[in-house]
């Protein structure tokens, strides 16, 4: 039991242990609950983001795909028209300006976008021309496009600004007859139709679409990145003929989705740009909601876990303390009961010889009483009386010992506690006077009478007052107070300004055989006092400071307790 008590005492006396335990439980519980929540939220977050991103990318990709087809169709139509004209007419027919003018007029009527038409021979000379500019007899051998068309058969130029400062594109087609004669038909297109196709894409505000050449020159105007023939301010991501979406950051530090595809038979790529924040605006709202729910959840879980742990730890601490209290009490009562048995045995053994002494002395007195002439009768009488008085004292001692053993028979009567206190003070008044100790009374005048045991209460007061008197120096002070506590209790306190006790002493003062009086004390006084007060259903408390004094407070029930 000592080991258990020691363990419990260490546990209870180290609040850090409970703090540590509390922290551990809170952490563990939080971990167990929050970890799955956290991973779930994270997975949800990334999955949602991925699917959102896929959902945004798909329409962008298909939009670019469709527009690319429009461009390809437009260019292919124009190219085939020119190719058809080049093969349908002979060189001679085309070299006639009037013919060429007529063909050009028909072409303009049927197809939009043509600006002019010219015939060029293999030597690079402009043979005939229909259009707004005076380009007749011009030689193109030094120009790059001339060599390319000779080599590839068809050629579509990058956009350039014509004389009228409108962006233009040149389409050239080489035709070779069966006899080996060849010529080149060259037409200029304005790029208004390009803009029309792009605006037909139906872009959202903040989005952008444009054509760009392989070397990064803008072929149509961009809302974000410049005018026609400006250099695109960033490198085009890797692009092929299939529409492809990538996520990059542009020079203005905007996160963008960029979809691009090369247009067949040309040097252009069609590019569409969508800002991520606009694309993700719904996602951001959802994400905020998610975050709010998650944070609220975490706070809620933490609070719940903390509350739960607090309740748990408090219960644990309470039960530990109760257990320690129970062990203390058990130990105390065990000590008391073994002392009790010892005392009872001693008392019984002493009673018989005491009875003999009593009778023998009594007989001596009887005999002397019958013999008036007994020598030195008076002296013997005195001795006998002394013996009989001693027997009486012994009887009192054994009676008290037995009383302690049996915890005495309680005789309940209604009495005035103040009167009992006064009566008890009477026993000590002489010593107090002799030592000049002040016995100050601060007794409540309207203290109700209580039902309790007169003798035992007196013993309690006597024990405490004796201790107080022993503690105070000559000229010291003892203050006795009594007051009405509530419907159930009255209180009596005995306060002295004596030597006081250390914490250790105060803790042990109710233990049997604990004494500070060396040989003078039995170490039973306060233990008995404690036992009596408890038995009467009361409480006893001690407050003490070394070298300052001690206050003992006794609570007594107004009515006797059951059992």
């Amino acid at each position: 039991m000592e080991a258990i008590k020691a363990d419990l005492a260490t546990v209870i006396n180290s609040p850090d242990r409970y703090k540590l335990l509390r922290r551990k439980i809170v952490l563990l519980m939080a971990l167990v609950t929050l970890l799955p929540l956290l991973s779930l939220a994270a997975i949800n977050y990334y999955e949602h983001q991925n699917s959102m991103s896929a959902e945004i990318q798909a329409p962008l990709r298909s939009l670019v795909g469709k527009a690319k087809h429009s461009f390809e169709l437009f260019l292919a139509e124009r190219t085939s028209t020119i190719s058809f004209i080049a093969s349908a007419y002979s060189f001679d027919e085309l070299s006639n300006d009037a013919n060429l003018q007529r063909i050009f007029q028909v072409m303009r009527r049927e197809f939009t976008g043509f600006v002019d038409l010219g015939l060029i021979d293999t030597a690079g000379n402009q043979v005939s021309y229909a259009g707004p500019y005076d380009l007749k007899d011009r030689n193109y051998t030094s120009q790059d496009w001339f060599h390319q068309v000779q080599f590839k058969g068809t050629y579509i130029s990058d956009v350039f600004l014509g004389f009228r400062k409108f962006p233009h594109v040149v389409i050239a087609v080489r035709h070779t007859t069966e006899s080996g004669q060849s010529w080149i038909l060259r037409a200029t297109l304005d790029t208004m139709h390009f803009d029309r196709i792009i605006s037909a894409m139906g872009l959202e505000p903040g989005s952008d679409a444009f054509l760009v050449s392989r070397n990064g020159i803008l072929q149509t105007e961009s809302r974000r990145y410049g005018k026609v023939l400006d250099l695109l301010p960033f490198d085009l991501p890797p692009t092929n003929f299939e529409s492809n979406v990538q996520s990059i950051r542009d020079p203005d530090q905007n996160d963008i989705y960029i979809a691009s595809a090369f247009i067949a038979d040309s040097d252009f790529a069609l590019v569409a740009v969508k800002l991520k924040p606009t694309a993700f605006s719904t996602w951001y709202t959802v994400r905020l909601d998610l975050l709010v729910i998650f944070v609220t959840g975490v706070i809620f879980i933490f609070m719940a876990v903390y509350r739960l742990t607090s309740v748990l730890i408090n219960r644990l601490q309470e039960s530990d303390e109760q257990r320690l209290g129970a062990i203390h009490q058990m130990e105390h009562s065990q000590k008391l009961s073994s002392i009790g048995r010892l005392a009872a045995g001693v008392a019984h053994e002493i009673n018989n010889p005491l009875a003999i002494i009593n009778e023998k002395a009594g007989l001596m007195r009887d005999i002397m009483g019958l013999r008036p002439d007994f020598p030195e009768k008076e002296k013997f009488s005195k001795q006998i009386e002394s013996i009989l008085r001693s027997v009486d004292r012994c009887r009192g001692i054994t009676h008290r010992m037995l009383g302690f053993a049996k915890r005495m028979d309680v005789k309940i009567e209604v009495l005035d506690v103040n009167a009992v206190l006064e009566e008890t003070l009477g026993f000590l008044e002489r010593e107090a006077q002799y030592r000049n100790v002040e016995l100050r009374r601060e007794l409540s005048k309207n203290l109700p009478n209580i039902a309790t045991d007169h003798g035992q209460i007196q013993q309690v007061f006597l024990n405490i007052l004796n201790n107080a008197l022993a503690a105070v120096p000559d000229g010291g002070r003892i203050v006795l107070s009594s007051w009405n506590v509530d419907d159930h209790y009255v209180a009596i306190s005995i306060e002295d300004n004596g030597c006081g006790m250390s914490e250790e002493t105060a803790k042990n003062m109710f233990e049997p055989f604990f004494t500070t009086k060396k040989e003078k004390g039995t170490g039973l006084g306060m233990s008995i006092t404690y036992g009596i007060v408890k038995r009467l259903g009361g409480e006893i408390k001690v407050e003490s400071k070394l070298n300052e004094g001690t206050t003992m407070t006794i609570l007594l029930p107004k009515h006797p307790v059951e059992g």
Binding site: A344, A347, H348, N351, N352, L354, A355, I356, I357, N358, E359, K360, G362, L363, D366, I367, L370, V391, R395, T398, H399, L402, G403, A405, K406, D409
Partner: protein
């Protein structure tokens, strides 16, 4: 109080005690026979039935209560005063239940004993006592 005519039997194994007690009673004119155990007590009762028996509860051999029961069953009119040790109130109360007249604790007060014997002898026959 006509103590000369009393017929008293004292029973206690504590010889010094009971002999001295008998002597003190004799000085007061009471003739008391003395025995030191239960068997002797029963024999003494059979020889000559006393008015009052002063009987120690704690004796080796036959216990006081047993002697009390036997005496009471044969001679219900004989009154028995029990002597108990201090703190042995329960023995006394048990004795009263078995028909003892009273119980006194040791060490004895002689005057109280004489008073109690007198009361027992003067008890009108058939009066129930506590």
């Amino acid at each position: 109080m006509d103590m000369n005519t009393w017929n008293i039997l004292l029973v206690d194994d504590e010889v010094d005690f009971i002999v001295t007690l008998a002597e003190r009673l004799e000085l007061r004119g009471v003739n008391a026979r003395v025995v030191h155990d239960g068997e002797a007590a029963l024999k003494a009762v059979a020889d000559n039935v006393p008015q009052v028996i002063v009987l120690d509860v704690m004796m080796p051999g036959m216990k006081g209560i047993e002697v009390l029961q036997k005496v009471k069953s044969e001679h219900p009119k004989v009154e028995v005063i029990l002597l108990t040790g201090q703190g042995k109130t329960r023995d006394g109360i048990e004795g009263m239940r078995h028909g003892a007249f009273a119980y006194l604790t040791k060490p004895l007060d002689l005057e109280e004993l004489i008073r109690t014997i007198d009361e027992a002898i003067r008890l009108p026959e058939g009066t129930p006592h506590a």
